[in-house]
């Protein structure tokens, strides 16, 4: 391996274009004769759509096409499960669900037309609390795709013997922790340019984390062959996980393919907030036991991740939360249950650390509380339990190399002695 670059500063090759203002993000590209697209999104979190009337929208001068669910050949997409519709046909499951799309000569006309689409909603009570949504008698939000329960995913992890662990424990700390929903708020709102090129291929220019997957999803939804779809990744103005799911790609592609006209779409900041995934809010119930000399002996953790309205990456995210639930600490007896639960909240998906960030609040707070109860310094409490080469994690993985935690904490010790460590 060439290690010469480590510790040196390499100029990014795209840096100059960016400081000179030359770089093209998707909102910066256009095609002659392009139309402008806009999307009508649901203001309700849970509703049944009785009817959608687009007549007034279509009659507006300058409107070229109005699209609803019936115009989408295969109306489904999603990274793990195709449980999200391109344009919702009957069941609105979250605020921001797309219902109709318009292509018009200008942005102004497109947005005016959207406001003229009449949707007859039967508003339904929403499920906003994941623990309510988990109950067996809660109404199922995706009966067809995910069955009668809103529990989308459950990962149990078992190691050792819990009873033996609690018997050995001299102190036990039991607490509940909650983390909040977060938006990536990447600085560049979603935008897309879609058109049919001179070879008859659908081209979609977009800022995406996942061009090959977008291509498959567009092809699937429109009933095209993969070879008929090209996705070109423009400069990506921040993503942080929030550009892993489909945003405007299929809607723009659908309109461009149907009308054989270039379609430009740009989300406002508000639309951006309404339409892309969020960081999972999690509830973490932790019970941790340690011996008098500060050795962890048992952990029982229940983690409930609010998946929101669609599955996106939820199973993978709550799986990762479970795998990281012990933190970087050796615990011989472990019982972890991690759940992803469907609700009518904005859907949760990938965001920096992908589920590994939330449990930190719980396991590190537990360490501080145990240290306090045992009269140890928080640093000492950690040093006595930290992973080393040879440690076995809760999932049974033997760590064989690159375990730098103890060394890292040791390096911090002088700093902690003066500033960071309350003791």
């Amino acid at each position: 391996m060439n290690e010469a670059v480590v510790g040196t500063r390499i100029e990014r090759e795209d840096g100059w274009g960016k400081v000179l203002g030359e770089t093209h993000f998707p909102a910066d590209v256009n095609r002659p004769g392009e139309l402008y697209g806009a999307v009508l999104r649901s203001p309700h979190a849970h509703a049944h759509i009785r009817s959608v009337n687009v007549r007034a929208a279509a009659a507006l001068p300058g409107v070229v096409g109005v699209f609803t669910a019936e115009n989408v050949p295969h109306n489904a997409h999603g990274v793990l499960f195709r449980d999200q519709q391109v344009l919702v046909s009957e069941c609105v499951r979250m605020v921001g669900d797309p219902i109709a799309a318009v292509a018009a000569e200008t942005e102004k006309i497109a947005r005016e037309a959207i406001a003229r689409v009449e949707v007859d909603y039967e508003i339904l009570p929403g499920l906003f609390d994941p623990e309510e949504a988990m109950k067996p008698d809660a109404p199922a939000l995706h009966p067809d795709m995910h069955g009668p329960s809103n529990v989308l995913y459950h990962l149990p992890i078992r190691r050792g013997d819990m009873q033996a662990g609690w018997t050995k424990a001299d102190v036990v700390v039991e607490k509940e922790y909650r983390t909040q929903m977060l938006d990536h708020a990447f600085l560049q709102p979603e935008a897309v340019l879609a058109y049919v090129d001179e070879r008859g291929h659908l081209v979609v220019k977009v800022a995406t984390q996942y061009a090959h997957y977008d291509r498959g999803e567009i092809a699937h939804a429109l009933g095209l062959k993969y070879s008929q779809v090209r996705v070109k990744t423009m400069a990506v103005g921040g993503a942080f996980g929030g550009r892993e799911d489909i945003s405007l790609q299929i809607i723009a592609g659908l309109m461009a393919w149907t009308l054989r006209k270039p379609i430009k779409m740009e989300n406002t900041r508000t639309e951006s907030f309404l339409s892309h995934s969020k960081r999972h809010p999690m509830r973490l119930y932790y019970k941790t036991g340690a011996t008098k000399d500060g050795k962890l002996v048992a952990l029982e953790a229940k983690i409930i991740g609010d998946a929101g309205a669609y599955s996106s990456w939820s199973p993978n995210v709550v799986r990762k939360a479970a795998i990281h639930a012990t933190g970087p600490y050796e615990i011989p007896n472990v019982q972890i249950d991690s759940y992803a639960v469907l609700t009518n909240n904005p859907y949760s998906g990938a965001m920096r650390a992908f589920g590994a960030a939330q449990p930190v609040l719980a396991y590190e707070s537990q360490m501080d509380l145990l240290a306090e109860a045992l009269g140890l310094s928080p640093l000492e409490m950690r040093l006595r339990n930290i992973f080393h080469v040879g440690s076995v994690t809760a999932t049974g993985q033997m760590l064989t190399s690159s375990v730098g935690m103890a060394k890292c904490l040791q390096a911090l010790t002088p700093y902690l002695a003066t500033k960071g460590d309350a003791s």
């Binding site: 500063r9 100029e11 990014r12 795209d14 840096g15 100059w16 274009g17 960016k18 400081v19 000179l20 203002g21 030359e22 770089t23 093209h24 993000f25 909102a27 910066d28 990536h184 708020a185 990447f186 600085l187 560049q188 709102p189 400069a235 990506v236 103005g237 921040g238 993503a239 942080f240 740009e266 406002t268 900041r269």
Partner: protein
Amino acid sequence: MNIELRVNEQDFRLVVEPDERLLDVLRNRLGLIGTKEGCGEGECGACTILMDGKAVNSCLVLAAQAVGHELMTIEGVGDRLHPHPLQKSFVELGAVQCGFCTPGMILSAKALLDRNSQPSEEEIKEAMSGNLCRCTGYDKIVKAVQRAAEEVAR
């Protein structure tokens, strides 16, 4: 309506809508796509340009209000052969990540250095406080402005 705008030392005669934002005229009519839209409501600073040397959010200015003023966008700050010290320092110090905030950052910093060539760290942070970077490279951005100030002083 007919207006004349002076942008990057060039004069343009344009027909615009009375309610057209300066941001849209720069991007859509003049093709100056280096000016970005992040929020459209004066929060993020991605649309920052200079108006008579002062940093303004072009999403909050109507094109018609810019008549008679000297405007500068990122395209007028420098080019590959003659980059501004800020453009150089941003690249060299890694102050650019996704780059969406970068033009606005550079223009806010330029407005500062043009009126105060030796700003303190506090003054830099104050001058850039209207520019958000969600890739959160603030530390490097401040250092890049300091480096550029040194170069301007030399």
